[in-house]
């Protein structure tokens, strides 16, 4: 079920260009990883409610009050490239 097409699709979604030989390697590797993870499916979860939160918290909200952050230069400097106060990135469509 984990074939070449799926790897190609995932690489496209991740904006990663893979060489043909890489695709073949990853197809095998992905399959093995998934098989391993799939062991979880052997556990009987019929009595367990699905969860996506572990804190038990609800309705955590903050007031709509402005709090300005540090200077923009610090953020721009943290990026690999900047230009005219803007973040410069590689364009991927």
């Amino acid at each position: 079920m984990f074939n070449k097409e799926v790897v190609e699709h995932i690489s496209k979604l991740s904006r990663l260009s893979l060489k043909d030989q890489d695709i073949e390697v990853y197809t095998v590797q992905f399959s093995k990883i998934l098989d391993y993870i799939n062991k979880l499916n052997e556990v009987d979860t019929s009595q367990v409610t699905p969860t996506f939160q572990v804190t038990g918290l609800t309705n955590i909200e903050r007031d709509d009050i402005l709090c300005q952050s540090e200077s923009r230069e610090a953020f721009l400097d943290a990026a690999p490239q900047k230009q005219d106060g803007l973040f410069k990135v590689k364009f991927t469509s």
Binding site: H9, K12, L13, S14, R15, F52, Q53, T55, L57, T58, N59, I60, E61, R62, D63, D64, I65, L66, C67, Q68, S69, E70, R72, F75, L76, A78, Q81, Q83, D84, G85, L86, F87, K88, V89, K90, F91, T92, S93
Partner: protein
């Protein structure tokens, strides 16, 4: 004939102080310097934690109530995953399967006072992306994250539209509602409200392939794009062509839609619950507490203006298209009513009912005519106007009682507009009061007749238009205090008597 079927997806930018998940300023596009309103959260730095803005939840609940939605008690956020340079985290925090409001509707008022119902599927909260500056052919792009993380409501309708004009009307009505509720400025040109339309056409009950059209930045463009798509798809089907399931953009130069490559080919967004944001509970109770903030909505107000004020559909529509305006109108009318009741103490509004039709019509005419002209000419917003509703009502009464004629009234309104003074004192000081003393009027008329002997002869010899010259002279001499109709009548009377 093909029947078009249209559904809408509308994004509305919320008017909160801060962004949806961090305390950065939500400047709604008014921030000209890039990357001034950013922080580690909205830049997607690792290890940061989003915290939900309380006001944003209140605003979507209000809109949900206004659009007659059900508010489920429980709601949560989800991650929508895709890679694009304007999306710093690699995912957008949105809501997938448990939105805040569902199953609502908005009724549109038809000219015949019936309504047309458009069902609303859902409303959810999500964060906006940054702005990407990219030149065609350039490998690099520049990003401004001021907008990243600002709050949006996404509204999805059912495919209940069958014409472009209804789509446009719905968008305008929605804009008005969010403005009435102070949820958003919803200016389409500024991207504060963005519409996407899904259009399909079919000859049968089975819906045709739907085409999504994006980048529609005005009501006019929404209408044009929908009409264009209906025609394009109908013609294609007539030629036995296949309609592609695709996203199209609008070309405002050539007035056509064009095929766009989709951002995410298969829309494979791999949604999953956002682990960093605890879910929302007890939203029903919370929305009930917000209900009292839902003021009278445009539809109800329009209906009231039609029925109670006896205005025409177009005038009622015009006067309720802006909350400031409709409030002003109501204040003026209530002043008029107070005056009528105090001077004609009859049984229970009897006299008000008798004169209100005429008074309100005069009021609406002067508002939408001369007052609108002055506002436009001077680039003044109604909320900043110097004329109080009380003074405007007094002005209408002066006209109603013929204490001032039309041309002087225009002058009077302009002085009121510029100075904010009350009309009665202006009338006295500026000598604008219509002359109602018959002997004084006669004096002016006689003076003009004596001084324009030749013109009188011309008139008597059949040159009927000559009278206009004399009317002008009378008005000039009286500084507009004798109106044109009265002047004309008096002059003709005098000439006929002397024949």
């Amino acid at each position: 004939m093909y029947l078009p079927t249209i559904g809408l997806e509308i994004h509305v930018q919320l008017k909160t102080q801060t962004k949806l998940f961090c305390s950065c300023k939500n400047a709604s596009g008014a921030d000209k310097t890039p990357n001034v309103n950013v922080c580690p959260v909205c830049l997607g730095h690792p290890g940061t934690l989003p915290v939900l803005n309380h006001s944003a939840v209140d605003l979507i609940l209000k809109l949900g109530l206004a659009l007659n939605c059900e508010i489920p008690n429980f709601s949560k956020f989800d991650r929508k995953n895709y890679f694009y340079p304007d999306l710093p985290k690699g995912y957008q925090i949105s809501q997938f399967d448990q939105p805040i409001a569902i199953n609502g509707h908005l009724d549109l008022l038809n000219k015949d006072k019936t309504t047309k119902r458009i069902r609303i599927q859902r409303l959810h909260l999500e964060e906006d992306a940054g702005k990407l500056l990219h030149e065609e052919g350039n490998d690099n792009a520049l990003v401004d994250f001021n907008r990243a993380g600002t709050p949006l409501i996404e509204l999805v309708t059912y495919p209940d539209f069958h014409s472009a004009i209804d789509v446009k009307t719905f968008c305008q009505e929605l804009q008005l509602i969010v403005r009435y509720l102070d949820i958003s400025n919803a200016d389409m040109e500024k991207g504060q409200m963005r519409c996407e339309v899904n259009v399909s056409v079919s000859k049968t009950d089975k819906l045709g392939t739907k085409v999504e059209v994006k980048n529609l930045n005005s009501f006019k463009v929404v209408e044009k794009a929908v009409d264009y798509e209906i025609n394009r798809q109908s013609r294609a089907l007539d030629n036995n062509e296949v309609i592609n399931l695709e996203t199209r953009g609008w070309d405002d130069e050539r007035l056509v839609t064009y095929s766009q490559r989709s951002k995410e080919e298969s829309h494979d967004y791999r949604y999953f619950p956002e682990p960093d944001l605890p879910p929302l509970k007890d939203l029903q109770t919370r929305s009930q507490e917000l209900r009292r903030y839902i003021t009278e909505l445009p539809l109800a107000k329009r209906y009231r203006f039609l029925m109670e004020y006896e205005l025409s559909y177009d005038t009622a529509y015009l006067l309720t298209n802006d909350n400031d305006l409709s409030n002003y109108v109501e204040q003026v009318i209530s002043e008029l009513q107070a005056w009528v009741n105090s001077t004609h103490p009859g049984a229970d509004n009897e006299n008000w009912d008798h004169v209100k039709g005429k008074l309100i019509k005069t009021c609406a005419n002067w508002l939408t005519g001369e007052l609108f002209r002055l506002l436009n000419l001077n680039q003044v917003f109604l909320r900043d106007i110097k004329i109080t509703p009380e003074n405007f009502a007094e002005f209408i009464l002066l006209i109603h009682q013929s204490k001032v004629d039309t041309s002087s009234a225009k002058k009077l309104l302009e002085i009121m507009f510029n100075s904010g003074r009350d009309p009665s004192s202006i009338l006295e000081e500026e000598n604008l009061t219509a002359i109602d003393d018959a002997s004084i009027i006669d004096k002016y008329i006689d003076e003009i007749i004596v001084a324009n002997h030749q013109t009188i002869l011309d008139y008597k010899n059949g040159k009927v238009n000559a009278i206009n010259f004399l009317v002008g002279k009378v008005m000039h001499l009286s500084q507009g205090r004798i109106g044109p109709d009265l002047a004309r009548k008096k002059i003709i009377d005098k000439i006929e008597i002397s024949r």
